[in-house]
């Protein structure tokens, strides 16, 4: 077991633990906090894949923007989920059947995947090359069209969000 494998196991276990706590914790705000932990675990996994840019992008966008957005959304709700309320409804036994079936199917398919026996391609020596990424983003033989289309996608998201939350009765916000 090399050091890298131990760190990977620890990071993966921490991420899974935080992700499970997101779902089963009683207070909504706490699940937002556990989500931050899960996202940090994923950032550590990115670091082990020698991809420096995506570590910091993950923390900056996911934790700095999306987690905060989720916390704002949690604060917008009224207190609909009390701590003492029933966590599961009475059909939870029946719900195990499709969930267990999906899990069994996934395990079966993954056990027959032969990519586990091949060795991965080695990454380039210094990790990734951000300059090449930048050049490719604007070159016509590279990713120029997806670059511009993504800006239109962001524009659509912006306009859609504002339109959906527009208060038509009051004539404005």
């Amino acid at each position: 077991m090399s050091i890298l494998q131990i760190i990977f196991l620890l990071a993966a276990l921490a991420t899974l633990f935080c992700a499970v706590k997101v779902v089963i914790t009683t207070r909504m705000m706490h699940s937002a906090f556990w989500l931050v932990g899960a996202l940090l675990g994923i950032a550590v996994l990115f670091a082990m894949l020698e991809s420096r840019f995506f570590v910091v992008v993950q923390v900056l966008v996911y934790i700095g923007a999306i987690a905060i957005l989720i916390i704002f959304a949690v604060m917008l709700t009224r207190k609909i989920m009390d701590e003492n309320q029933q966590r599961m409804n009475q059909l939870w036994g029946l719900a195990f059947i499709p969930a267990g079936g999906v899990l069994a199917g996934l395990i079966y398919i993954l056990s027959r995947w032969n990519a586990f026996n091949t060795t991965a391609r080695t990454a380039p020596v210094n990790g990734e090359d951000i300059e090449a990424l930048g050049k490719a983003l604007v070159s016509p033989t590279g990713f120029m069209l997806p670059f511009e289309v993504s800006s239109i996608l962001l524009l659509a998201a912006l306009i859609g969000a504002i339109f959906v939350s527009y208060d038509r009765k009051g004539g404005g916000r």
Binding site: V36, R52, F53, V56, V57, I63, I68, E131
Partner: protein, 403 residues
Amino acid sequence: MSFVADPINFIADWLSKLLLGWGLPPDLVMVLLFIIGSGLLATVAMLWVTILIWYERKIIGRIQDRFGPNRVGPYGLFQSIADMIKIFTKEHISPDGVDWFPFTIAPIIAVGAVLAVWAVIPFSANFVGTNLSVGILFILAIGGIGEFGIVFGGWGSNNKYALLSAFRAVAQLISYETPYVICFLIPVMLSGSMNLNDIVKAQDPWFIFLAPLGALIFFITSIAEVGRTPFDLAEAESELVAGFNIEYSGLKFGMFYVGDFLHSFTISLLFAALFLGGWKGPWAEQIPVLGFVYFFIKSSAAYFLVILLRASMPRFRIDQMMDFTWKVLTPLSLTVVSMTALVDKLLPANLIWVRIGGLILLNIIIFIATDRLLDIYWKKPLFQKNNQVEDASKASSVKLGAG
């Protein structure tokens, strides 16, 4: 390298030779050196805050035509130490119903997130914590984690006013982070790398001469990111009952205070590194200690400006702050970035004075255009109360709405 010219690397080399001589494996030696180096840097940063607090109190005192602290020690130098001893012995009151984990961890994150930035700042030509190739984005990412310190503090206090104040502070922080993130693009663009040491090395004319408006926007937004006056609506003593640190006492409150000052100094370090040429100066490459001295002088000058702004400006209201960032600073920073990119490609790079002159002219044109546009289209003056806002605030205070 001799001891006088480069003490830190000399000691690091000597220590690593000593440890290798004792027969430890080289990886462990490296990790031990990292631990010692980062421990020293973090401790120096925390102790430096006491000098910063003294500096600020003296200067604000003088601006207000009074002495600062001058009783404890010569010129009041030991005042901060006396304050530290006092705050160490205050009781940690834990009110009813607090969520203990966010409540306890909030001041730790608030200070830790600022200290972590010191890992990537180049203090001299070859003394930098780590030469991370995405240093700039690392600084921004750690700033994002720092916002969570405020959310934890406000949420964990089980207090309506702390919660309101914390969320208002986070709304201010994310609003000012938009032009902040965009202004970091300018040094990256002009130097071609996200590594802070490379940015400092590429500053043949300092970047403040190539993009003065960008430096100005960076300065303003970073003061707003720290949460200092004039942007300290969320934590000033008279606003929302002192903000999200209402329920904190003892050293936990002291840690928020320390984090505030450390953050102000860190942004002046960043301003000096990104726009004022960092450790560059005459003979800085041959004698690295001199680079350290230059860097210290430049960042102290930037910190002096930050203190000056605090002492002389009144506070903004929250809607004035939001208007300023979304309607003025964001379009302005996007304009500065795109125009600087365009003009810098068109000007010949080898004639330095043509380049500097062209870019300064561009910044002056953008500034005058912004000024005219604000005069024409901003019918109410930007920083004055008017009837519309007064009526709306009266109406909203009648309802029991929050925020």
